[in-house]
């Protein structure tokens, strides 16, 4: 009985855990070497599928994504480093294929734009408060002081 429960528990765990692990990668594509396969998965998760542009080739069911997954694995089997595999794909499809864009002159606005905007905003706030502090209230004029004295002296309505 206890054993049956343990099996049930394991099955339930598998149901929760497996969908995350099994993505578009088909069993036939996988490499038998688990270390290489893991590297292939890591690389694939950083490469954009160009057909369904917001998915990685690891997630995508598209035909081209399948071809690229197989190609990544072939390059790894041939002895490429992860960087060499990435460069191989980038040479054909350009920086756009990288889901994390590199920092270069084309992407400065992308990487640093938000920082610049935040700095501008903070500067604006600083200027606003500095100005407010400078504008100390003017001293009362003679007429105002007289009126104030009158108000203070009277006991109000």
């Amino acid at each position: 009985m206890r054993r049956g429960r343990a099996i049930l528990f394991a099955l339930a765990l598998a149901c929760v855990a497996l969908p995350g692990a099994a993505r578009a990668v088909e069993p036939g594509e996988m490499l038998s070497d688990p270390v290489l396969e893991q590297r292939a998965r890591d690389i694939s998760q950083h490469l954009r599928c160009l057909v369904c542009q917001n998915e990685s080739i690891d997630d995508s069911q598209a035909d081209l994504a399948h071809d690229l997954r197989v190609l990544v694995r072939k390059r790894l089997l041939a002895g490429d480093t992860n960087q060499q595999v990435m460069d191989f794909i980038v040479a054909r499809y350009g920086d756009f294929v990288l889901l994390k864009p590199p920092v270069n002159e084309q992407t400065y606005a992308l990487w640093f734009g938000p920082l610049v905007l935040a700095a501008l905003g903070l500067a604006g706030i600083a200027v606003y408060f500095a100005r407010r502090r400078q504008q100390a209230p003017k001293p009362l004029s003679a007429a105002e002081r007289k009126r104030l004295d009158e108000l203070l002296r009277s006991d109000g309505p």
Partner: protein, 178 residues
Amino acid sequence: MPYKYFLPIALFIGIVAILMSGLWRNPEKLPSALVGKPVPQFDLPPLPGLEDKKRGLSTADLEGKPVLVNVFASWCIPCKVEHPLLMRLKESGVVPIYGINYKDKPEDAARWLNELGDPYQRIGADRNGRVAIDWGVYGVPETFVVDAHGRILHRSVGPLTSSDLEKTILPLVKASQP
């Protein structure tokens, strides 16, 4: 005091203008990594069944004169859309068109060419799509303009239109003709 109100409004309009310009960009038109580079090294066999009529396509065939390289497949609907344009271009004789038949069954490709007409001087059969990856192809049809030195001058993704042809492709071809 009016400048005080003018600045935020101007900033707002500026940001809206930048964001709106993004709405009209075509997200499927990707920058090409290969423009300005030599064509990849490849050697594709002819279409099985058409061997005696049509030779295959390799890197060496892309030297000497400007050509168009068109990636097509019989299963590709937009290829059918641009096909009449390619036929007209072939008849005009301005520039030879070479085909890369992408992931197609040879008999389907042959039937397609028989029924619709064959605009290609040479056709390389890329059964598994491996050569297309070297060309950076991600959606058929794609058309490349290759100059006389085997360099890629231009790449267009999706079916060609006559305005693409007249405004971009043919001027490039003419400019690179000796």
